[in-house]
Subunit: 141 residues, 2 copies
């Protein structure tokens, strides 16, 4: 049942390229000793990820404990790519926050998101998977 090589590791450059080509991922963070996860729109700025958020659990969580993880992925019928990273989150203020206005950070949803958060990456890995989904060919659509 095993393929010779169904999984390929991405280089760090390939991971950054992948992140730069996408704008939607999932942030995992601590909140009061629990692990939480939420979808986010992000943009790559140098070696950081930037996103905006409103007051709420996401902001409270990263303020209380800045240890975070993040994942972005993409898949087709034959291949899936996933980049996961860990890092530390900090809220940006003043000039640093204003500078984000010049980045192509494009929230998909038109709700007010005032606080700018930056994730500094400490470790990152990416994998590309050759998919085996024989049932996909059996679908009615």
């Amino acid at each position: 049942m095993l393929d010779d090589n169904p999984v390929t590791d991405l280089t760090q450059d390939q991971c950054w390229d992948f992140l730069g080509q996408h704008e939607f991922g999932r942030l995992a963070f601590h909140l009061a000793g629990e692990v939480h996860i939420t979808p986010v729109n992000y943009v790559v700025d140098g070696q950081r990820l930037i996103f905006r958020t409103a007051e709420g659990n996401k902001l409270l969580g990263v303020t209380m404990n800045n240890d975070v993880a993040f994942e972005a992925d993409e898949f087709t019928d034959t291949e899936a790519t996933s980049v996961v990273l860990r890092g530390s989150a900090e809220t940006l203020e003043g000039d640093e926050a204003d500078a984000v206005d010049h980045l192509p950070l494009r929230p998909w949803v038109a709700t007010t998101k005032l606080v700018v958060v930056a994730i500094t990456v400490s470790e990152m890995s990416g994998r590309r998977f050759a998919l085996h989904k024989p049932w996909a060919h059996m679908r009615s659509q």
Copy 2:
């Protein structure tokens, strides 16, 4: 800039329906005090999520601390849906693990994944977002 109602909350039934219609999500878990995230193939069984994993960080993490979070999503050019949940993970053994062979749990990647993990959901929410991506219409493809 704000829409009247860009975000719609899903009911619990709608969340379960969404999870049942998908098979790929992201698991967030604790590992040695850190938060980690990883993509997983899953299947819904009653009010639990089931996935398989090999020995490794994912299994070690949920064994040491069973507090986990999970997210699944889907998006088109005009709409995104995301279901997030929190719960507790446990490894299944014996008859319970064997019973999973009868579930439509279909790993996308043909690597060996021997251990069966079940997530019992403690809280869940789902949201559907009306997307505003004017730049999508400016893309060359």
